[in-house]
Each structure stands twice: as structure tokens, then as C-alpha cells.
């Protein structure tokens, strides 16, 4: 079980490769609107988190995820 900050830190490390220069990643960074992830890239992002934390992430949570912070909170809820 990982902590909220651990999820955030890992997501930042993955997203750094995607983010346009000038974007400072934070909890309020939006995955699609700010970083511009395509639907396929969102799925790849999900897989990386699953592999890192040894979890399965239900796709059902994704419609409620806009920001990096949203995602980390959802992952904590899955752990709970």
C-alpha cells in the first residue's frame, strides 16, 4: 500500500517525459488538458502505475480523474 505522496512522486516522474516545456507538474495539473495525453497514452500511464505499485486499476475510476491529484486520491481509495 503506497501513500498519496508516493503516487504523486511516481506520476510526476513518468509525466516529466510527456509534459511540454514550461509546465510545472503539480497536483492540479490536468492529464489531458495540460499534458495532452491521448487515450492510448492514458492507458500506458495506467499500466506504468500498475506495474510500479503491483496493483490493478479499474478503468471505471478514470472518468473521475482529471488531475494528477485526483488520480493519487483515487489510488488511495482503492487501497483503503
Amino acid at each position: 500500500m503506497a501513500e498519496y505522496q508516493e503516487y504523486l512522486d511516481f506520476m510526476y516522474s513518468v509525466l516529466e517525459g510527456h509534459a511540454k516545456s514550461g509546465i510545472v507538474l503539480s497536483e492540479t495539473t490536468e492529464l489531458v488538458a495540460d499534458i495532452g495525453l491521448s487515450s492510448l497514452e492514458v492507458m500506458e500511464f495506467v499500466e506504468k502505475i500498475e506495474d510500479q505499485f503491483e496493483i490493478s486499476i479499474p478503468l471505471n475510476i478514470l472518468p473521475d480523474v482529471n488531475t494528477v491529484g485526483d488520480f493519487a486520491r483515487k489510488l488511495r481509495e482503492l487501497d483503503a
Binding site: 491521448s38 487515450s39 492510448l40 492507458m43 499500466e47 490493478s56 479499474p58 478503468l59 471505471n60
Partner: protein
């Protein structure tokens, strides 16, 4: 604004229009045979129609459809649960069940309705759908409608599937694993023996969509499940009439008698008109031919081998394994569009597939082979691709 979300598609269509290219919704103006037609004003070899056994123009299937139109009319005008169950529908269900060696079958008006409806109905809230990541859009659509928890496992990766089943613990017993026999875009086959081994170890129910493998794989043409020798361990097999059987429609068969009850709970079965009697009649005839003429399958594989080997010899980035679906993967969109246009000009129609319909960020020139193709037609298709290489439209070292 309601339409803003379609802007990306409008832009793409405008880009295609500016180049006078119509790959999506290309218009077939005249069908000359199962393998030739006039498309977008040009006579072409059809190399992207999923008509694996070439039965769409079989005279016996056509005669069966004509006879059915005389006898039953053009449509049922009603649901299977109302006035739309003709004895022909029940006979096709019995014949499909017998073909698969089980006792229960449901037919649907389209293949999409079959897989979507089954996935939406077999599981519900509190239960789990475990999908191969490259599953067809109809499976994802059904998953969303089901209300079940949706988890993807890595494409054709039984270890990843096993890991996720293990994580589910006791919930694995309420989990439907969904895979396809042959995957439609790259033509690769599911490792079903390993998938069944994972199911055996951790539990779960297995649903296999044989849309692109029925009539193609297995000694009797039943599909990937038959070829893998795991028929007794699969819970549900779905498929379509719109590929090897040359018509439209879909089905699900099962050894579980509960399928007969589930029938009354599938929205895409209940709230739509049943298949036209013409379709049912031609499908019944095609199913007989599929069983009585194994030579069609041999011809299909000879043709597949000829095309796959030919394109590989040109150095083209084809899919991972030999199959009647032979896809050439390209990284660049405009290059893929140019290749598609050049193939049309050379007299070959293939499918242009763009993400997210393709399973990665690649663009695909997707060919599907038919038993009805002559060897000369296959050679013409290969020659058209050789033309792309000669013209510098594909660089085997850089693309794919």
C-alpha cells in the same frame, strides 16, 4: 459547444478531403465477385473485407437467401421476444450449438450486439471484467454498460492475467475473462492454453470471441479454442456471421444451461429486430459449407502464407505471426495515407486503420486474405506493395 469534441475528427476528414482521399467509408459502386469490386470509381482487388472463406458470393448461399425471401419475406419487423422468432432462427441456433458440441446458443442481429450484449449482461456491479487490453470496441462498450469493475491485462500476456487474477483473490470466482481468438488488427492469436492454465489456478469464467478465427482455425474450423484443444474449459464462445460466413449477425454458444435464462436479460438481443430471414438462411447454408468443405480453409491459409511471406520478403513490417490478417504497420500518418492511396491507384483495396482503432500509435495498412483470392490476385497485391517500396513511399528500415 456540443460539437467541439468532434473538431479533431473534422480536421482529420478535412485533411483527407484536401488530398482527395476517401479511406473511411470508401464507396463500393459495384461488386464483381467475392474478391473484386469497383470502389471509389476504380476496379480493385478486395484485400480488406474479412471475407475469409469467400462465401458472400457462394451461389448456394445466395439461392438459400432468395428462397427465404420468397418464403419468409424480407424482415421479421420484431424482437426475438415478440414476433421475431421464426423457426429458422431456432434452427440456426441449434446448428451452431451442434457445431460447437454444446447445447445452448443465442443468435444476435450483429456481431457487435453479440459481444457487447454478452459482456454487458454476464457481469454486473460488484463483479469483475478482466479484458485483454487489445479487445474489440464492442467488448469495451459492453464492459462500460455492465456496471462491473473493468480491469485490463496486457495484450496476450497470460502472466499478467494470472497476476491480476491472483490479486482479485476470492473475487476471481466472480470474474469474466474476455479474450479474442485472433485479434482483428494484427492477426495475432491468443495463447489460450496458458490463459486457461491461469483460470484453472485462480478461478474465473472464460469468454472467447472467435469473430476472426471461426472458419479459420481448428481442424473443424471452430476457431482458436478448438485449435488450442481447450473446448471443455471455455465457458462462452462468441462469433460473427459477417466474416467467414459472409453475411451479418453474431452468436454466443455455451455449455452452461443458464445461457437460456440469460437470453431474456440481454438488451441488445431484446430491444432490436431479429435477423432478416435472408441472412439466417444464407448463414445456415454457409455454416454447412464451412463444415463440409475443409479445402476452403486450406486455400485460405495457402493464400495467407503467400501474402505474409511476400510482404515479409519486401522487408515490410508485418504482424507478429502468420494469419489471414496481414497488417503493415507504419509510424507516420501522412505516409500511411499516401500508401493507401497508391495501393488504390494500383488496383488494391486494403483497410487503413488509425489509432485508437489500431492497438498502438501505429497506422496500419490492414489486409485480410480470402480463400476466394486466386494466387495471381495475391501476387498482384504483393506487386502493389512492391510498388510502394520502389516509389519510396515505404522505407522498410524506417517504418513500423
Amino acid at each position: 459547444m456540443l460539437f467541439d469534441k468532434f473538431k479533431y475528427m473534422a480536421d482529420f476528414q478535412a485533411e483527407l478531403g484536401a488530398q482527395d482521399v476517401v479511406p473511411f467509408g470508401a464507396v463500393t459502386e459495384k461488386i464483381l465477385s467475392a474478391t473484386e469490386a469497383v470502389v471509389n470509381g476504380r476496379k480493385v482487388i478486395l484485400a480488406g473485407t474479412n471475407n475469409y472463406l469467400g462465401l458472400s458470393f457462394d451461389p448456394r448461399c445466395i439461392a438459400a437467401a432468395q428462397e427465404a425471401a420468397e418464403k419468409w419475406g424480407t424482415g421479421t419487423t420484431g424482437s426475438r421476444l415478440a414476433n421475431g422468432t421464426f423457426i429458422e432462427h431456432q434452427m440456426l441456433e441449434s446448428e451452431l450449438a451442434a457445431f460447437y458440441g454444446v447445447n445452448h446458443a443465442i443468435i444476435f442481429t450483429t456481431g457487435f450486439a453479440a459481444t457487447m450484449g454478452m459482456c454487458a449482461s454476464l457481469v454486473g456491479p460488484g463483479e469483475v471484467l478482466l479484458l485483454d487490453a487489445d479487445s474489440h470496441a464492442s467488448i469495451y462498450a459492453g464492459a462500460q454498460l455492465s456496471g462491473a469493475e473493468i480491469i485490463r491485462f496486457k495484450h496476450n500476456d497470460p502472466d499478467d492475467l494470472a497476476k491480476r487474477l491472483r490479486r482479485l483473490g476470492e473475487r476471481a470466482s466472480q470474474t469474466l475473462i474476455v479474450v479474442e481468438g485472433i485479434y482483428s488488427m494484427l492477426g495475432d492469436t491468443a495463447p489460450l492454453q496458458e490463459i486457461v492454465a491461469a483460470k484453472r489456478e485462480y478461478g474465473g469464467w472464460l469468454f472467447v470471441d472467435e469473430a476472426h478465427s471461426m472458419g479459420v482455425l481448428g481442424d473443424h474450423g471452430r476457431g482458436a479454442v478448438e485449435a488450442a484443444g481447450i473446448e471443455s474449459e471455455v465457458d462462452f464462445i462468441a462469433g460473427t456471421f459477417s466474416k467467414s460466413l459472409g453475411a451479418t449477425g453474431g452468436f454466443c454458444v455455451s455449455r452452461h444451461p443458464e445461457l437460456e435464462t440469460i437470453r431474456y436479460c440481454i438488451r441488445s438481443y431484446i430491444f432490436t429486430a431479429s435477423s432478416s430471414p435472408l441472412i439466417v438462411a444464407s448463414t445456415r447454408k454457409a455454416l454447412q459449407i464451412l463444415q463440409s468443405e475443409p479445402g476452403l480453409r486450406r486455400k485460405l491459409w495457402d493464400n495467407a502464407n503467400r501474402l505474409y511471406s511476400g510482404l515479409r520478403a519486401l522487408g515490410l513490417p508485418v504482424g507478429p505471426s502468420l494469419s489471414p490478417v496481414v497488417a503493415v504497420a507504419l509510424k507516420d500518418r501522412s505516409r500511411a495515407i499516401n500508401c493507401w492511396s497508391a495501393l488504390m491507384e494500383a488496383g488494391v483495396y486494403v483497410n487503413l486503420v488509425v489509432p485508437p482503432a489500431s492497438p498502438s500509435t501505429n497506422f496500419l495498412l490492414r489486409n485480410s486474405v480470402s480463400a476466394a483470392h486466386s494466387s495471381a490476385q495475391i501476387d498482384d497485391i504483393i506487386a502493389a506493395y512492391a510498388g510502394l517500396v520502389d516509389a519510396g513511399l515505404i522505407d522498410a528500415r524506417q517504418d513500423g
